[in-house]
Subunit: 340 residues, 2 copies
Amino acid sequence: MNALPRTSREVRLLTRPEGLPEPGHFEVAEVPLPEPGPGEVLVRNRYFSVAALLRSLISGEPQGSPMPPLRPGDTLYGAAVGEVVTAPDAPGLSPGALVSHWSGWREYAAVPIDQCRPLEDVLPDPAHHLSQGAIAYAALTSTVELCPGDTVFVSGGAGSIGSMAARIARLLGAGRVIGSTGSPDKAALLVTELGYDAAVVRGAGPIAEQLAKAAPDGIDVLFDNVGGEQLRAAVAAARTGARFALVGALSGQLSPDGRGDTAPVELDTLQLILKQITMRGFSGFGRPDAEAQWTRRFADWLRSGEITFPHVRVAGLERAPRALTDVIAGRYVGTVIVEL
Amino acid sequence: MNALPRTSREVRLLTRPEGLPEPGHFEVAEVPLPEPGPGEVLVRNRYFSVAALLRSLISGEPQGSPMPPLRPGDTLYGAAVGEVVTAPDAPGLSPGALVSHWSGWREYAAVPIDQCRPLEDVLPDPAHHLSQGAIAYAALTSTVELCPGDTVFVSGGAGSIGSMAARIARLLGAGRVIGSTGSPDKAALLVTELGYDAAVVRGAGPIAEQLAKAAPDGIDVLFDNVGGEQLRAAVAAARTGARFALVGALSGQLSPDGRGDTAPVELDTLQLILKQITMRGFSGFGRPDAEAQWTRRFADWLRSGEITFPHVRVAGLERAPRALTDVIAGRYVGTVIVEL
């Protein structure tokens, strides 16, 4: 093993943005190398992902969220993959072992053992462990129980979860797959790059009308990353017995303050009853079994060439704040990964 | 069999009410005895139930409803139990056989064979076939999969469906059962007569606050007959993994025009996700298997004295219009049945 440095760099929130965050709202700070306390593992991070969800955590303090708020001075956090440096209290974690955890946005992290998940060495590239495929797979299989031939609408279709959901839905036998996104450019990518049959565009006229054209026979399944108008449109387009997985509520972040602590939507209960719609809130937290099952399936599909992992790599911690503001502004397709 | 009369009486809509209907909006008309056409059964009605749902059908024309609208001049309709008079095309239906169908509000009805359901003679009284227990039973067992110990909130707890749902929930092992209703008097009846542990009252302060007091540990199941504020309150009170059966949307009828063709509610998608709530629209239409299963179970529970059928009987067709306006005004508890 190389000699350890004496310092580590990390990205901190400097001030709370009023509107959209800019790189100037963050700083890259140099700190002493973390010393793992009792029950902690020292990890050298190799990759971490940049999640749009951070916007609500840096803009406010969402009620009831399982994610701790971020206040000025705090180091950002998010999903990361790294190598164990030392794990004195976890003999199973040898130096060099690959683990995932939630202390991204820093070069070195002291992570409690129970928050460190050893990774099976089955994917072609450790960065693939940062795909959101496990969430998409669990929601499509257990939450909406996708059936062959289903017409599926993925809101937020270009995002890190949505882009995987579309591919997985297809592999599970979906018929037509329609995605929504925020610009005509991205809508074109949905069809040419991400395997969607059709796309609807936020801001290009009522989503309900666009969806009625894209799915003239209605939809069987909604995979919802957005809420708001998109969820209403899905109710309008739903066939009898449609199943909706509510996975994300990005619409809550589209408010001017971006706090995202609520994602209000006006629904018509009568339509939910008459169409016998099932809506189920899905939380990706605490599903290690689903994660392990997904990883094996993902490895098989990658090997057979049936799936790819739509993602973008950004090199170097100092580029991470700009990557975050670009993700929040919707400038990317797929998962954005910072490589250290 | 007695000689048949030459005429039959029926209740018709005279004019569309602007606000709440009054008896003067209806008339009792005398018409020639219906002659069953090919494939029809002539039925002498003995009982029919009076449903608050009629308000939306006489006030407007709900979009997407499987129930045909009612226009001035039309005969009202609703669930009925009667005896077969003649069934030339259905040899299985002997004269005198008990059947249920949807052509209530008249003394004699010519009913298509496929809309005539023969009734098992297992209940102590034919009027018991007009209970809404089948809907409550199916929604509690298959839609929300009630578990022993669940805390259950029944909105519209005094109504024909709600009053049965509370009893059935208890028999299926529910822990605490809370109901909502429209007046303090009815709230008292919920607890003393209908077996609820606690009641919340529409109009007596925010439902969410009342529900938080009635169910301090939150609710596991919502059996929703109302929608609107009550559904919002249930989301606020929901425990992680709560299941909601959306069965009715009476809140839509509380609008001044009473059309009830929408039942809008503002929900917070983020709360549905964080609490992993499942909401499922339940339609009672087209579930003959569930109906048969329910009838046997109901008979057993009635025999053992574990259940009763909360209902009120009104004698004579001429009293039916007043019964309907009283039902719509919320003056009854349980199912209201007109006896002919």
